[in-house]
């Protein structure tokens, strides 16, 4: 949607400007400029000859002419191609797994897969939190937990053998000199009330005395437990979460328990699912609002239909081509339609100009040709610049960013093609009489012009103040950029108060944390992890990690061995330590293998005991949480130079940080490349570096102010924002190209610098303002989305529109005035 808005805006602006231009006498000047061989006078007086001449010289006009002559053939041909692309849409495969933002061969993915194999770990785990304010260890609650676990075991897609809950996970306790290794709740105490109280007390004590369980399976205040449900590869977290909720609803009865579902797969798959839903809901609403606004501006249904058809066609072609090329539709490419919708509003410029032209010429054929001649070049320039800008996102290394950039660029070219084929064809079918009379009604609203004229006056009269204010704003924004906090937290993509956010915060409050990282110690000698010396170092590393903020719980082979040592020695606190000989450790590990779940041991140490895994539970999905852990690992490594093992981070928390960083920085580096390219293209467009720089000002100003305010407001700078900011490419370029072109023409005609500047704000400025309002309005509905990235889209769209329109209308005239000597 975003990209669409951008290009739509710029396209619309261009068209509006061009139309305004053509409408005036300056238009003749423009024609003269574009086709110097033609006498300017002749252009208006003998349009037909003039166009014939043009047709021979300009391929785009051949296209226009052909489309006007064969409107139905054109429309049918385009519809046919659209159907061809459209058939591809059925084959769309959506992929909302952010993992696939990075190629399977990327280091972090290879490392993560490797760690999962070493330690028999599952990629994804859902956490069902169960709380009871009065305490969770009572017969009714435990019964329900047991039943719920039994039911979850029956679900397809869950790794049933590795579910961790009070009824499946082992507890190791000592009792009368014998040791017991069995599921904590192998039997829920069933005895009559009087006895059961005692049994429950014993159970409570045995659970709370096991440091391996506290903060993982039971909260310190005994009000909360959790069932950890690992998923089989390819299972959908949202769907399984739904089934678990179904089980909970069947079993919870009138119990005091509250249930919370958390975990990365739910957030990820819910976001993936809701994203498409919200896209399907808000895109049409945005479209309808824009259609209404368009109608109020032009009072003609055909134009609106044409405008929307171009948007839909460019989306179908681009998405059809994308799917046909074998790409899956993922988080980033799902934004392509929004961007294309915006880019396709370029056509407003054509309609705007046409609405003036037809009143002047009175005949639709010549009016269309004249319109296209006047607006065509600006449309081509701004669309090509926009397309090149997006295509250059492909310079970066991140595949989804490349795909996004290239297909937005392709869609932009489709919009451009439609501007020269479908639009003229549809315009040629218009009922001219009705159209003209409608335009006359519409023509009455002239007051806005005067308002803009006044704005033009002010921008010149108070140019000093305006430029100083602008410069000040720029400096403040640059300072804000240094305040930017880069962070990607998918949980924060949901609104506060949403189930996912609430569940996450409740679980993080009571238990170790929903975000999980692995810190893996890798040696190259078997049985290394049975050596007391190695285990002591591992313990030191674990202690260091525990001191990092947000770390709620850690678990390692050291914890298991120490607990075993304690239990074997009848809970004598002296033995809460690492045993002194590798034989004892080896024999403890052997004994642990006799539990009902030897696989739980496998998650902490690999088969040949070469490698060990420290499981780190984090209370926040913020990048800073995992960064804190990694910092502590570095502190540890610096302190211990002679280590028998290397340390490697892995796990979902680490992975999320890496892919987000890579995509974000890939996006930014691509964006910087785009900006440089656009600057070069603008200089080329105007055959002047100075004019190129001036045309570049609204774009760079908009971006800096947007980034700066993100920094000052304290909003996380994340992947959605970095994608969104590229929208300014399409919008701001459009505005400035139109304004400058119109000014140059006007100035050439009149020779009156100040007058031309005021006029350019008043007339073509009207197109800019229309375009800005259209978009800000259309996308403002997204503020009501339940996903914060879409709210961001809504706010950003408005902000980018407003900023680039204001920057163009307020700053360019004073700057041109100040630089007049070197420019003119």
């Amino acid at each position: 949607m975003k990209a669409g808005v951008r290009s739509q805006k710029s396209g619309a602006r261009r068209k509006v400007w061009i139309l305004n231009l053509l409408n005036s006498e300056r238009m003749r000047a423009l024609r003269g400029r574009l086709h110097p061989a033609l006498p300017v006078e002749g252009a208006t007086q003998a349009p037909i000859n003039w166009y014939r001449h043009m047709d021979r010289r300009d391929q785009s006009n051949i296209l226009v002419q052909w489309s006007i002559n064969h409107p139905w053939t054109t429309i049918i041909l385009i519809l046919f191609i659209t159907i061809l692309f459209g058939t591809q849409l059925r084959n769309a495969k959506t992929d909302t797994d952010p993992k696939n933002m990075l190629p399977p061969a990327s280091k972090v993915r290879v490392d993560n897969d490797q760690v999962e194999t070493w330690f028999s770990l599952h990629k994804d785990t859902i956490v069902l939190g169960i709380t009871n304010r009065g305490g969770i260890i009572n017969r009714e609650s435990l019964d329900r937990i047991a039943t719920i676990t039994d039911e979850i075991l029956k679900l397809k897609g869950v790794a049933a053998q590795d579910i961790i809950s009070l009824t499946t996970s082992d507890n190791l306790v000592t009792d009368d000199g014998s040791i017991t290794m069995r599921p904590i709740l192998s039997d829920v105490p069933k005895t009559r009330r009087k006895d059961s109280i005692d049994e429950l007390e014993i159970l409570k004590r045995s659970i709370m005395s096991n440091p391996l369980l506290v903060d993982r399976l039971i909260s310190k205040d005994m009000t909360t437990t959790a069932i950890y449900v690992p998923l089989e590869d390819g299972a959908n977290g949202r769907e399984i979460a739904g089934e678990i909720m179904g089980i909970v609803n069947r079993i919870k009865g009138g119990g005091m328990e509250r249930y919370y579902l958390a975990g990365d797969p739910i957030a990820r798959d819910t976001f993936g699912h809701d994203m498409f839903l919200q896209m399907a809901l808000f895109s049409p609403i945005a479209g309808i609002i824009m259609m209404i606004a368009l109608y109020l501006m032009f009072r003609n249904l055909t134009m609106i239909v044409a405008n929307m058809t171009v948007a839909i066609i460019s989306i179908i072609w681009a998405m059809g081509f994308l799917i046909w090329s074998g790409f899956t539709v993922h988080i980033m490419s799902s934004m392509i339609p929004v961007f294309l919708m915006a880019i396709s509003t370029d056509n407003i410029h054509i309609f705007n100009e046409f609405s003036y032209r037809i009143r002047e010429v009175g005949e639709k054929g010549p009016a269309i040709r004249e319109t296209m001649r006047a607006v065509g070049r600006a449309v081509i320039l701004s669309d090509l610049t926009t397309a090149a800008g997006f295509a250059s996102l492909a310079i970066g290394p991140i595949v989804p960013v490349k795909v996004f950039g290239l297909f937005v660029a392709f869609g932009t070219l489709v919009v451009l093609l439609m501007s020269f084929t479908l639009i003229p064809a549809i315009l040629s079918l218009i009922d001219e009489k009705r159209f003209i009379s409608a335009q006359k009604i519409n023509g009455k609203e002239k007051d806005k012009d005067s308002l803009l004229h006044r704005m033009g006056d002010i921008s010149l009269a108070k140019r000093g103040i305006i430029l100083i204010v602008g410069l000040g704003l720029l400096l403040v924004s640059i300072a804000g950029i240094f305040q930017i906090r880069v962070n990607n937290n998918m949980i924060s993509w949901f609104k506060p108060g949403s189930d996912i956010r609430v569940a996450d915060s409740v679980m993080n409050d009571r238990l170790g944390g929903t975000s999980v990282a692995y810190i893996v110690a890798i040696s190259n000698k078997s049985d290394m992890m049975k050596q007391p010396e190695t285990l002591r170092k591992l313990q030191a590393l674990e202690d260091e990690i525990k001191s990092a903020p947000y770390v709620g719980k850690t678990l390692s082979i050291v914890d298991l061995i120490r607990h075993m040592n304690l239990v074997i020695h009848d809970n004598d606190p002296k033995f809460n330590s690492i045993p002194g000989s590798p034989e004892i450790i080896g024999q403890y590990l052997f004994l642990m293998g006799m539990s009902s779940r030897p696989r739980e041991l496998d998650t902490l140490v690999d088969y040949p005991f070469e490698k060990a895994n420290i499981v780190v539970m984090l209370k926040s999905w913020d990048a800073s949480a995992i960064d804190g852990v990694i910092d502590k690992v570095k502190v540890f490594e610096n302190r211990n130079s002679n280590l028998s093992f290397k340390v490697m981070p892995a796990g979902i928390a680490y992975f999320n940080k890496v892919w987000n960083d890579e995509v974000l920085y890939g996006m930014i580096s691509g964006f910087i490349a785009s900006l440089l390219l656009v600057l070069a293209l603008l200089a080329l467009d105007f055959y002047s570096i100075r004019w190129g720089l001036i045309a570049f000002i609204p774009l760079i100003f908009t971006i800096i102010v947007i980034y700066g305010s993100v920094g000052w407001i304290g909003k996380d700078f994340d992947m959605p924002i970095s994608v969104l900011s590229t929208l300014s490419l399409g919008l701001a370029i459009d505005f400035s190209i139109h304004l400058i072109r119109r000014f140059q023409q006007r100035f050439k005609e009149t020779g009156d610098l100040e007058g031309s500047l005021v006029w350019v704000v008043g007339r073509p400025g009207k197109g800019i303002v229309k375009n800005a309002i259209l978009f800000a309005l259309g996308f403002s509905v997204m503020i009501f989305s339940s996903l914060t990235p879409y709210i961001t889209v809504g706010v950003f769209m408005g902000a980018i529109m407003l900023l680039s329109a204001l920057a163009t209308l307020l700053f360019l005239p004073p700057i041109i005035y100040l630089w007049r000597r070197s420019l003119l």
């Binding site: 194999t117 070493w118 028999s120 047991a146 039994d150 075991l153 029956k154 679900l155 397809k156 790794a159 049933a160 053998q161 590795d162 009792d175 000199g177 014998s178 040791i179 017991t180 290794m181 069995r182 599921p183 192998s186 049985d527 049975k530 074997i568 000989s581 590798p582 034989e583 004892i584 450790i585 080896g586 024999q587 052997f590 004994l591 642990m592 293998g593 006799m594 539990s595 009902s596 779940r597 030897p598 696989r599 041991l601 496998d602 690999d606 088969y607 040949p608």
Partner: protein
């Protein structure tokens, strides 16, 4: 005429439906009887037994852990109480570890473990029978048997599996929480009553564990599984167990199965 025809048709239809199952029921033993005889063949052959067992525990990516042990077993009565004594040679750091089980039908086993590095005998209380046997994919029940009364059996069919003519027996735990499996299907050789293949299905009905008797030999006329594997299809892990130096009816003394011999393995039997 017509009515008569119909009656014949009806009777022959009825016969054709009931007859095969009638014959089937006559010629085959009852499912519970097959289960009982299979348990005797697998866990109770001879009065006693001595064997050296080599186990290879294989991880998903082909890494292995080794278990090597000598197992002594003595039956107190056929199908009833048993004593097990296990001495471990490998892994190297557990050498001299010994393990003893008193197995009772319809009652939790008694187990003791000797930890040589601490010179300590520990009783291991009433652990779950589904627990892993020394970290392998075999559970205690796979090694020493599960109470027949805990399952209900059904003879699904009889079929040829390779060269063996087998009963295909389905076992469903009477208390679902008492077993890891939802049900189990066994192919039991009609001659030896040894299971040739067993499929374990989880509580969703998905196959997750597969037992295969890879090699069966007669030792002193007793058909014995020499090599067996248990593969966990959901985790990709597996265990292979090879029995060597198998001897039956060697005359194991009762006193071997005492705490004293846990600390000091009987040299007569353990080399």
């Amino acid at each position: 005429m017509e009515q008569k025809n119909r009656a014949y048709l009806f009777i022959s239809l009825l016969l054709s439906l009931t007859f095969p199952s009638f014959v089937f029921a006559l010629s085959s033993p009852l499912p519970d009887e097959i289960a009982r005889r299979s348990q005797i063949a697998l866990f109770y052959p001879g009065k006693d037994m001595k064997a050296r067992i080599y186990m290879r525990l294989l991880s998903k990516d082909g890494k292995e852990r080794i278990r090597e042990m000598t197992m002594l077993r003595k039956n107190l009565q056929e199908g009833g109480e048993q004593r097990y004594y296990i001495y471990f040679y490998q892994p190297a750091d557990v050498r001299d570890t010994t393990f003893m089980v008193y197995k009772y039908p319809k009652k939790d086993d008694d187990r003791w473990l000797f930890i040589p590095a601490l010179n300590l005998v520990k009783r291991i209380a009433a652990a779950d029978k589904n627990s892993s046997f020394v970290g392998s994919d075999f559970s205690y029940e796979d090694v020493s048997g599960r109470d027949i009364e805990d399952d209900s059996f059904e003879l699904i069919k009889e079929e040829l599996l390779g060269e063996a003519d087998t009963y295909v027996l389905k076992a469903v735990p009477k208390d679902l929480r008492s077993a890891n499996y939802g049900f189990k299907t066994s192919w039991i050789d009609k001659k030896s009553f040894l299971p040739i293949k067993e499929e374990y299905y989880d509580k969703r009905g998905a196959l997750y564990k597969l037992f295969t008797a890879e090699e069966i030999k007669e030792i002193k006329n007793i058909p014995t599984i020499i090599k067996r594997t248990m593969k966990n299809l959901q985790t990709g892990q597996g265990t292979e167990a090879v029995f060597r130096e198998i001897e039956y009816n060697v005359g194991l003394e009762d006193e071997i199965f005492t705490e004293r011999f846990l600390k000091k393995p009987p040299e007569k039997w353990i080399k």
